[in-house]
């Protein structure tokens, strides 16, 4: 089901979401994928500039970007798969492996470090029952350390999918994790 997007913001759609609808291959030869591709191409003078918007789309639908996905994106934009691979590995937000329903990114950069960021990270790992970078066995949480999220005055900042959780102290972590577990059911 295609939701209505204005062309001017086609390259700015949220791509770290809990509900991943999936999408059939070939992604960009019809349906929503083709719509998104054509809309993106209309905003830039070159095809290559639509690369990040298309990669966002793939991750929005699937939760991560696999090598076959990279090949499809490459074909749609007349790029080589190797080039797309270079872009996907350069930027940290493209998941190179599937992640849990909730991707929990705990900032431990300087301002959050000063406000117990590392402790918040460890509490999340404990509560979610997983190791850093790995997905919990129930598939609900992947917890990673993040660099500055741009919410320094509201330390510790935690990004969970497309939401910002701020002023997260170690004591609040259990409740957040509990709430997310409830949502995921």
């Amino acid at each position: 089901m295609t939701r209505r997007i204005h062309p001017s913001v086609v390259g700015a759609q949220p791509f770290q979401v809990a509900t991943r609808e999936g999408i059939e291959s070939p992604m960009f030869e019809g349906g929503e994928g083709l719509e998104r591709l054509e809309m993106a191409l209309s905003r830039y003078p070159t095809k290559q500039a639509a690369l990040l918007p298309l990669l966002h789309f793939v991750q929005e639908k699937k939760g991560w970007v696999s090598p076959p996905d990279m090949e499809e994106v490459a074909t749609a934009l007349d790029l080589t798969p190797a080039y797309v691979h270079s872009i996907v590995t350069f930027y940290t937000m493209y998941n190179k492996h599937p992640v849990g329903t909730y991707l929990v990114q705990v900032c431990t950069c300087i301002a959050c470090h000063l406000n117990k960021g590392e402790e918040v990270l460890h509490r999340f790992l404990d509560e979610a029952g997983t190791r850093e970078g790995e997905t919990s066995e129930d598939g609900v949480f992947t917890v990673i350390e993040a660099e500055c999220l741009g919410a320094c005055g509201f330390a510790t900042a935690v990004q969970i999918n497309d939401e910002y959780f701020e002023d997260v102290s170690p004591e609040k972590v259990a409740d957040i994790v509990g709430e997310l577990r409830r949502r995921s059911v």
């Binding site: 790029l79 080039y83 691979h85 590995t89």
Partner: protein, 540 residues
């Protein structure tokens, strides 16, 4: 360069390390420096790769009066600029680049192919950056096969991106990329897909260190064990200029040699690899003459005299010549001379064919369909080109057959058995040649000096890189001896004299000389006489 003197172009004059130089407007300082004899150390800059990211930071120079150093590979020379390539600041900066590169670089020199021909080693010595103050464990990255014959050692890599940019900007094949970023960056192909480009071997040449190595060369030879000889690749009719690396009388590697008119800085993989088998196989090492049912080994004087006698006996009845298009110009000249002395008015050559491949941004450089070095020579010396699969024309009974180096693969059984006289001149002894009356052993192109003529008529010198086995000699020398024994020509003992004889007798080569051709060659029918003045390339 001649277009500099006397203007017509805008020029600028600047000073580099105290030496004034005038260069065309737009020239970058790194190239202007080379014109004064200063080679500024560099990694990411390569004269044959059009893109210059200026990211290695090795070529930083000081503009006198300015505190900030600038990368000379992109800095445009300006009128009145004063550049110091070796000021204290510039040298410290260069030294620090080496120090940073050596922080994680593995001490692989004892097992690394690049040792002795490594730009990291070289500059570490030049900058005297030889002591490490790293107390931390090095990052270890591992090794990957990125093509079926190229290995990538990630922790040796200095991320200069020459390989990436060669593939993308010269070969126009965007299959090699930098993956990840920062200190985790490495060179990669698309996961699961190897490089597959007919020119990919060039990435090993441009790699300044031992990060990229050919699998069929790895551990074969140390830089200091090898001799290097200027040659011409015989893989196709392009005639790429190459350097032949040899060790213990075997060819171990071919690398391209720069020639702006032919192959720029590059060569194709077929050229690199097709000689791998050339070191093998049984060679004809001594002259042989017929003795009843068999061929008997003998010495040169005996063989030449015997052949001359048999030829006089056979008379000028005509017959057939067959030559290999991999024969040098001088070889073909004397071959055709012998044929006319024998009254043979026709000779054939066939050129093996193969698929083509071109390097998009270097139009002249192609792996051409004609897979032989001197098909053009065959044409110029009056040969008739026949199909590669064609069966050689039969000789009528009593006629003379002279074969130069051809493998006679298509020859039918009993080929030559009806001939009045069958002379085989070659480096090997194929089955069909066992019917010959005489076999004269010759040197391959790698074992002699000579010239080839490429597809567009460029005559280029190649030089002896190997010792011929036994008492084999160059064909031109051998055939000239036969002619001398027949009272035809003076014997010729050096290639210069052979070429001179060829040039005075053959219009296409008029005015050419061994000295005059130098290392860049000259076009047939051109103003070769003007090339006769020794150009700068000879004797350094």
């Amino acid at each position: 360069m001649s277009d500099l003197d006397g203007g017509g172009l805008d020029t600028v004059t600047l000073t580099i390390d105290g030496v004034e130089v005038t260069v065309p407007k737009g020239t970058r300082v790194i190239e202007a420096a080379e014109r004064t004899g200063v080679v500024v150390p560099r990694y990411c800059y390569h004269p044959g790769i059009p893109t210059r990211p200026a990211q290695c930071r090795m070529c930083l120079v000081e503009i006198e009066g300015q505190p900030k150093l600038q990368p000379s590979c992109v800095l445009e020379a300006q009128d009145g600029m004063s550049i110091l390539t070796a000021s204290e600041t510039a040298e410290k900066a260069r030294q620090s680049v080496i120090e940073f590169l050596l922080v994680n670089h593995p001490l692989d020199c004892p097992i690394c192919d690049a040792a002795g021909q490594c730009m990291l080693q070289d500059y570490a010595y030049v900058t005297t950056q030889l002591k490490s103050r790293v107390d931390e464990p090095k990052t270890v990255m591992g090794r990957d096969r990125i093509a079926d014959d190229i290995l990538y050692f990630a922790d040796r890599c200095i991320i200069c991106t020459r390989c990436v940019r060669f593939m993308r900007d010269v070969a126009e094949d965007d299959s090699l990329v930098v993956a990840q970023r920062g200190h985790k960056a490495y060179i990669d192909t698309f996961p699961g897909r190897d490089l597959d480009n007919p020119f990919q071997g060039n990435i090993v040449d441009v790699c300044p260190v031992g990060a990229l190595v050919h699998e069929d060369f790895v551990f074969k030879a140390r830089a200091w064990d090898m001799d290097a000889t200027a040659g011409i690749c015989p893989g196709c009719s392009t005639g790429c200029n190459v350097t032949i690396d040899t060790k213990e009388n075997q060819i171990v590697r071919l690398k391209p040699r720069h020639n702006a008119e032919v192959n720029s800085y590059w060569m194709c993989d077929h050229g690199r690899k097709h000689l791998v088998m050339s070191n093998r196989g049984i060679r004809a090492e001594v002259p042989m003459i017929r003795d009843g049912d068999s061929l008997r080994a003998t010495d040169w004087p005996t063989a030449i005299a015997w052949i001359a006698a048999r030829i006089r006996q056979a008379g000028s009845n005509g017959g057939l010549g067959i030559a290999s298009p991999n024969s040098s110009n001088e070889n073909l000249f004397y071959f055709s001379r012998l044929l006319s002395r024998l009254g043979i008015d026709r000779w054939e050559y066939s050129v093996p064919q193969g698929s083509t491949a071109s390097l998009p941004t270097v139009p002249r450089l192609e792996l051409r369909a004609d897979r032989a070095a001197n098909g053009k020579g065959g044409e110029l010396f009056g040969g008739t080109r026949v199909d590669a699969e064609a069966v050689p024309s039969p000789a009528r009974a009593g006629e003379t057959i002279v074969v130069l180096e051809d493998g006679l693969a298509e020859a039918p059984d009993g080929f030559g058995s009806e001939a009045g006289f069958f002379l085989y001149v070659g480096s090997r002894l194929p089955d069909a040649a066992r019917e010959a009356d005489a076999v004269l052993p010759i040197a391959t192109f790698a074992e002699m000096d000579g010239t080839f003529t490429n597809f567009e008529g460029r005559v280029q010198r190649f030089h002896r890189a190997l010792q011929a086995p036994g008492i084999a000699r160059p064909a031109w020398m051998v055939l000239a001896r036969v002619l001398a024994a027949l009272d035809d020509l003076e014997p010729v003992s050096d290639v210069g004299a052979a070429l001179d004889a060829m040039a005075s007798a053959t219009a296409a080569f008029a005015g050419m000389s061994w000295q005059g051709l130098g290392l860049k060659g000259a076009l047939v029918g051109g103003d070769a006489a003007a090339v006769g003045a020794a150009p700068a390339e000879i004797d350094g």
